[in-house]
């Protein structure tokens, strides 16, 4: 892994099209500004990994489970 030290307002460039800038640092949090082409997907790692896990779990769902969940919903009237 390449490790770089940057100060506030400094940035790094990745290739010709990606720029990541340090916008703010406080209380152990770093705020980054990312400029990248629109077709390049940028995600928070932990959110992306959670979605991956959920999708893999959902992919194994049986019709029987979905029917049961549907039946359970029908017993409760819609509303907040």
């Amino acid at each position: 892994m390449l490790i770089l030290t940057r100060k506030l307002e400094e940035s790094i460039r990745i290739g010709d099209t990606i720029t990541i800038k340090v916008l703010a640092v406080s209380d152990g949090q770093v705020k980054l500004g990312i400029d990248a082409p629109k077709d390049l997907k940028v995600h928070r790692s932990e959110v992306y990994e959670e979605i991956q896990r959920l999708n893999r779990e959902a992919a194994k769902t049986s019709k029987t489970d979905v029917s049961s969940a549907a039946a359970a919903l029908k017993q409760r009237p819609p509303g907040a």
Binding site: K41, H43, V47, Y48, E50, I51, Q52, R53, L54, N55, R56, E57, A58, A59, T61, S62, K63, D65, V66, S67, S68, A69, A70, A71, A72, L73, R76, P77, P78, G79, A80
Partner: protein, 137 residues
């Protein structure tokens, strides 16, 4: 056209109903072709069935049924069909809906994408105990 799925058996479908996901679905990036399937016993849930892997299907729901005004508030896109992937645990006692990263299908060119919304008000596992709105026929 015909396709065989382990849960749905032999399915008949028309080419124009195929939804193409150029980037796949998160965690399933190699799967590009899906079909939205209605199954009476699953309503109000529907299914996103892979047309490349006969064992792959995802239960989904219209997120507007889970949160009122979802599409208008969080997506503001025209001519799209939106689904959230559903996870069911503990023998269907615990059902959650992914409001954070919906599947967005462009109705004009039948392409689909799973996008990630940048809102703290949306959860990857939003509990679903009752519908927010009745299902419109």
């Amino acid at each position: 056209m015909k396709w065989n799925n382990v849960q749905f058996g032999e399915m008949d479908f028309e080419e124009k109903h195929v939804v193409y996901f150029p980037d796949g679905i998160i965690g399933f990036e190699d799967h590009r072709k899906f079909l939205v399937v209605n199954d009476e016993s699953s309503e109000p849930f529907r299914w996103l069935v892979s047309l490349e892997d006969g064992e792959l299907s995802f239960p989904v729901i219209d997120p507007a049924l889970v949160r009122n005004g979802y599409t208008r508030q969080y997506l503001a896109m025209d001519d799209v069909t939106v689904f959230s992937i559903v996870a069911i645990r503990n023998d269907a006692v615990q059902t959650t809906v992914n409001l954070k990263s919906p599947i967005v299908i462009n109705n004009r060119d039948r392409t689909g994408r799973q996008i990630v919304l940048d809102s703290d008000a949306l959860n990857v596992r939003e509990p679903l105990t009752r519908l927010a709105a009745p299902v419109l026929e």
